[in-house]
Assembly symmetry: C2
Homo-oligomer: 262 residues x 2
DNA sequence: TATTCCGATAGTGAC
DNA sequence: GTCACTATCGGAATGAG
């Protein structure tokens, strides 16, 4: 088994990896990323074999034996929400001031946790990132890591919604028909390899590579630009992180570290 | 005094730097390069103030109060030859088998020591490199070092000869007049900034930079190419060095190290 | 193409 | 866009007063 298939072992035998697996049921695993790029960085991993090797930008535009793309999207949405809840519950427990932090945690869940996918995953099993936007982690080691979460290389889960995709498609074919040069007949075909009737997410690896490598490093909090100076970005992110979490009662920097194994 | 002017201190007060200065007279210093890029790497440094800051590719195409460019060339030629002699005498002493090595040393002097200049010197005082072609030295640390001695960035002393330059010019103006678009009136003017009547040595820093950075690493002995793999080149050069000097009686690798201070 | 230090960039190997 | 290792490549400082 290649490194690209590490998640397959978890899918096949989650009980063997109890240290890693935070939640499991028949549909998904939710695990803590082993190399978290932020204070909390979870992964939602669908288990179905017919789904696990479909590209994340295409997975909800197909139909499956067990469910349609739409149904799968709704299903995964539930677990994405669950992962977010697990994150704030974990932080709530850590801070140990539930009453004082209730509002701030609710805001953090909505404003400061992003869920989505990488346009070019390196690990072959379908997985969805759920990650706080502090990017405070020793494991965040280079521009590639950072820009994979902060540029269009990262596609929000919301943008994968096949319903909004269809609406987008309709809009284009109505008002801006000339912009849509694709075969609408194949739009809902689960057999078709053609996913181009949906929202246009960049798939060209050369272009995506360029995005990762040439997009200047930019603070997600304040927009400050650091060019290629990754160390300076890291230093700045640490300061932003300290400011951000200072809003929570019971925050201690030494305790609020990136998620690790139990 | 900036690092770019280190040689000026030697010129001004050679007796203060007896450890470095191998030879001095009123015209030049001959020193062992402090960061030798080969087993023997000496520098010939003219002392005259009116000469020391002239660009090496132009220095023999001007006239001076003390001498014409031609005369200066002949003068420096003498010291270049002297430096080569010092190198083989040093090796002769080290090997300690003068009779057996006489012929091989004579050949080494002619075939294996190059003298010349860098097209873009980093140190401001005019200096001529006299260097064995083994490039066996810990101080040879990167492609820039190596390619500065093995590409057209390095211009042989012979190619600076103003007499051959003039012959070249004449030839071009006769047989290939159209290739010479320059003002021949300024050819011998010591005041002119125009050195273009002489052999065309590349002076464009962008082009020279490209030569240094993009020329694939290539063994000077056998032509083997190593691309950008500097460590592999180094390993190969060590093997070539061992073969090369094995021809000398009394050769011991541990003793034949790059020149150092006394 | 002075060196040195540091950091960014690039290639590889992983079973 | 898996990590970890190595090596290559790239910019900045360097002094003196
Ligand atoms: Zn900021
Ligand atoms: Zn060779």
């Amino acid at each position: 088994m290649s490194f690209q298939d590490v998640f397959q072992a978890y899918i096949d035998n989650p009980s063997k990896y109890k240290q890693l697996v935070e939640f499991e049921d028949e549909n998904v695993l939710i695990i803590k990323d082993q190399f978290p790029k932020a204070i909390r960085h979870y992964l939602v991993i669908p288990r179905a074999p017919e789904v696990t090797h479909v590209h994340p930008l295409e997975v909800f535009n197909r139909n499956y034996k067990k469910y349609s793309g739409d149904e799968l999207y709704d299903l995964i949405s539930f677990y994405i929400e669950k992962a977010k809840t697990m994150i704030i519950e974990d932080l709530d427990k850590l801070f140990d001031h539930p009453k004082e932090n209730k509002l701030a945690l609710a805001e953090l869940k909505v404003d400061f946790i992003r869920a989505g996918v990488h346009s070019v995953p390196s690990l072959r099993n379908l997985h969805f990132h759920v990650i706080t936007q502090d990017f405070e982690s020793e494991r965040l080691k280079n521009k590639k890591h950072y820009n994979s979460f902060t540029t269009p290389f990262f596609v929000d889960f919301d943008k994968l919604d096949p319903w909004s995709n269809k609406a987008y498609d309709k809009l284009n074919r109505g008002g801006f028909g000339s912009e849509n040069q694709y075969d609408s007949d194949s739009a809902y075909s689960s057999e078709s390899e053609d996913d181009r009737v949906f929202i246009r997410h960049e798939r060209d690896k050369t272009i995506l590579d360029k995005i990762i490598k040439t997009t200047p490093l930019k603070c997600t909090y304040c927009g400050a630009v650091f060019g290629n100076k990754f160390q300076e970005l890291k230093q700045h992110l640490k300061e932003e992180y300290l400011k951000k979490y200072a809003l929570f009662d019971g925050f201690e920097p030494a305790k609020l570290t990136p998620n690790q194994f139990k």
